[in-house]
Homo-oligomer: 133 residues x 2
């Protein structure tokens, strides 16, 4: 009985510890990122609340299980002294397949574009990249 | 004895399942990101191998425990048809404190800048941002 108990304790502890991911970045290596970047310029605006609560969930909903996760960041400043803020915000989709992403976005492109005006007056730059590390 | 065994099984299973992070992005919320973004233009080059094996580890080494993780991505294309690739590569530091980051980088700025020529001939754009989601 004691031996059986020890065995169970050992195996479930091993399962518990194996779930830890000390470098969470490693989990994204090899994924594709689609980064939607909203440049800052005088007179340009960005409504983060709408973006976070309405727009991004809407687009994420189109992507299904191809979407591993999405992130949102709010631009604070340039990292170079005396340079203006480069981007007001960036929304990033981590996906498994770029072609699946394009197939999912295609039919919904008009809806996505129509929603831009609800949170910004700038056109985004969009970068497709591969996670190296 | 059986009851004790069941109790142990239950608690360690709970520990195992609580380690799972279905939205790993949540672990970064509230962190500061410093994104070093290398713009693409005709004639501009980028040596990813040097960047990944030499430059980024060097800078990460200056940052100490303030650095939660760093990531590297390789630009593949614009997400907008007929637009050129926006960035060749982006290196991103996830940090807890911006002031600690600046204090760590300051004394090493010359070394960092001197290393640029070993992997690129373009000056980066640097964005400081806050992880919202």
């Amino acid at each position: 009985m004691k031996l059986l108990l020890s065995f169970f304790l050992l195996t479930t502890s091993l399962v518990a510890f194996s779930q830890e991911k000390p470098n969470a970045g490693a989990a994204e290596k090899g994924l594709i990122k689609v980064s939607v970047m909203y440049p800052y310029a005088e007179g340009k605006t960005f409504n983060m609340e709408y973006y976070e609560t309405k727009h991004m969930p809407m687009v994420a909903g189109y992507l299904g299980s191809n979407l591993v996760k999405y992130t949102i960041e709010k631009g604070l400043a340039s990292g170079i002294p005396n340079q203006p803020l480069p981007f007001m915000a960036i929304g990033t989709f981590y996906i498994k397949s770029l072609s699946e992403y394009q197939a999912a976005i295609g039919p919904n492109r008009d809806a996505i574009r129509a929603d831009f005006q609800n949170y910004t007056n700038v056109s985004p730059v969009i970068l497709v990249s591969e996670v190296v590390k």
